[in-house]
């Protein structure tokens, strides 16, 4: 009884793994993006700018019942970002991040992505900072603030204008959670909303031709 069952399961698995879709790696698709975005948490303003370098680019077609389904473009990037936000009377935070980005773009242009990576934060306290020595002498500390290690994780959605039109831009809205440590001997979490645009220099029409996708039967 077990053998036919195992065989059917194995067959189904192979069907799912191989017959349902096919992927083509397109090394020539490597490119880089420039990013500029508004980087805020709630009402507190900020900016983020960065560069993404494409490492991997796969066009993928999912078949449903052996019929063409959705087409995707899967990309992997590494990105370097310089970010800043301003929280009055609390701090200004200038932080650098290096992120691993996984992005999936439908051929309609809809983007979904996930990113994570380490970083370094330098805060600047939100007011004049005084130091009082044991003799009672008071001095002002210039550019007072702290250095923290940082980890960021985030996900978001966007739209790639190059998929339908010949525009080398995409927009993105992304929620990041940054964690800074050691912050008062604990970890400080802060949700940060990023809304911005990406520009791909030298990018022409990005539609993938039908020849680039092979459909397995």
């Amino acid at each position: 009884m077990l053998k036919p069952g195992t065989f059917i399961l194995a067959l189904l698995y192979c069907t799912l793994c191989q017959a349902q879709y096919d992927s083509i790696s397109v090394p020539s698709g490597r490119h880089f993006n420039l990013k500029l975005s508004y980087n805020s948490s709630l009402i507190y303003p900020g900016m983020s700018t960065g560069v993404e370098y494409s490492l991997n680019h796969i066009n993928e077609r999912v078949l449903k019942n052996q019929k063409p389904g959705r087409d995707y473009k899967k990309e992997r990037f590494i990105s370097g970002n310089l970010n800043w936000y301003h929280h009055p009377y609390f701090h200004d935070n200038l932080y650098l991040t290096a992120e691993w980005v996984m992005r999936r773009t439908r051929f309609t242009g809809f983007i979904s992505e996930f990113s994570a990576g380490p970083g370094f934060s330098r805060t600047f306290l939100g007011g004049t900072t005084y130091k009082v020595d044991d003799a009672g002498n008071i001095s002002v500390i210039k550019l007072a603030g702290y250095n923290y290690a940082l980890i960021t994780i985030g996900g978001g959605f966007g739209y790639d204008f190059s998929m339908k039109k010949q525009l080398p831009f995409s927009t993105v809205a992304k929620m990041n959670l940054i964690s800074m440590f050691p912050y008062n001997s604990t970890i400080y979490f802060r949700p940060v909303l990023e809304i911005g645009i990406r520009y791909t220099p030298g990018k022409s029409k990005n539609k993938v031709s039908k020849q680039s996708v092979t459909i397995s039967k």
Binding site: L42, I43, Y44, H86, H87, P88, Y89, F90, H91, D92, L94, T123, F124, L125, G126, G127, T128, T129, Y130, K131, V132, G136, I138, V140, I141, K142, L143, A144, G145, Y146, N147, Y148, P182, Y183, N184, S185, T186, I187, Y188, F189, R190, P191
Partner: protein, 345 residues
């Protein structure tokens, strides 16, 4: 080009930290005091032209001073005097790195001393300064004013539902819960709610461990909900109401609170008392208390009041308050604070 970029950044951030001292009738400005690994936020609001300041020492430990900064207090005390909200180390918007080792009462009192020195540096040595300690803040001010010479730095002290003696506090909380609980049950009010509290108090009669102390505090907080004559305050609503207008860094406040609540520091506090040294206190003192405060019962305020040597002292009880008289009977609170400061500035 690079130099210009970094110079611009430096100018931007140094601009935010530019020393700003405003003397006027309606001020709102913040500065930080750096001490022993912590940069503590100090927010100054209200009428600094009066040259009279009330420094709020918040409760907790780990609760922020942000929550005391309400519109009512701004309009009814801040219009007359400067109000100073100090975030203690590892609380509120105070910042630092690996500074947990310095989280103890002795360090906090030294922090307070330095905050006062900076206030006088900014607003003039001739300023009149009053300390207002609430709840755990009462322990910091009790420690502060019983150190030789420290009470001379201030004009007067306002003790609001403060705790100057943690072991006594636990004993009195148990007694107050038992007394009020039995009375409420006899009146057939919230019987099912009071019964577990009464049972716990009967089962734990003294020499309390930290866990017992924390459980008593939890019961003391919830017991206020079973007294109909108290004005009930929803602290979460208060936080949400002021989080944007007061620009509260909510996640920092929460992270600090969770760390401080769970730190070993609380073991040190559980055995701390200043009853035996309060006799050296001679400055004017106002004691404000809520009649239904089970967290720091009225008898604790009476112990403080009876032990200080001040000849100019008064104790006033709010009949409709629990532990948070500042919010539960705000008119009573502001009227009494204003009168005391006016008479002693």
């Amino acid at each position: 080009m690079k130099k210009v970029f970094f110079l611009s950044l430096l100018l931007l951030f140094s601009g935010c930290q530019k020393e700003k001292i405003t003397i006027s009738g309606n001020v709102s400005e913040a500065f930080y005091v750096d001490n022993a690994g912590a940069s503590m936020r100090v927010l100054v609001q209200g009428n600094t032209a009066s040259k009279t300041f009330i420094l709020f020492i918040h409760g907790g430990p780990g609760v922020s001073s942000y929550f005391y900064d309400t519109k009512y207090i701004s309009q009814n005390i801040g219009d007359k005097y400067g109000i100073v909200y100090w975030d203690q180390r590892n609380a509120g918007a105070s910042q630092g790195t690996s500074n947990g080792g310095n989280l103890h009462l002795d360090q906090m009192v030294e922090d307070l001393k330095k905050v006062i020195e900076v206030l006088k540096f900014r607003y003039g040595q001739d300023m009149s300064l009053f300390l207002l300690g609430h709840s755990f803040g009462g322990l910091i001010v009790a420690d502060f004013i019983t150190r030789p010479g420290y009470q001379n730095m201030i004009k007067g002290l306002i003790d609001v539902d403060g705790s100057h003696n943690y072991p006594l506090n636990d004993t009195l909380t148990r007694q107050a819960l038992l007394t009020e609980g039995n009375y409420q049950v006899s009146q057939n009010r919230n019987v099912n709610d009071w019964r577990p509290i009464i049972s716990y108090c009967n089962a734990h009669q003294g020499n309390f461990s930290l866990e017992e102390s924390q459980q008593l505090e939890t019961y003391a907080t919830v017991a206020e909900n079973y007294i109909d004559s108290i004005k009930h305050i929803n602290m979460l609503n208060l936080v949400l109401k002021y989080s944007i207008p007061n620009e509260i860094p909510l996640t920092a406040v929460l992270c600090n609170l969770l760390y401080t609540e769970d730190s070993n520091f609380n073991k040190e506090l559980a055995v701390t008392q200043f009853s035996t040294s309060l006799n050296i206190v001679t400055i004017p003192v106002l004691v404000l208390w809520g009649k239904f405060d089970f967290t720091c019962p009225q008898a604790l305020g009476e112990d403080f009041y009876n032990r200080i040597s001040s000849t100019d002292k008064s104790m006033v009880i709010s009949p409709k308050s629990g532990h948070n008289i500042i919010f539960q009977d705000k008119k009573f609170f502001c009227d009494n604070v204003n009168e005391f400061v006016l008479n002693h500035k």
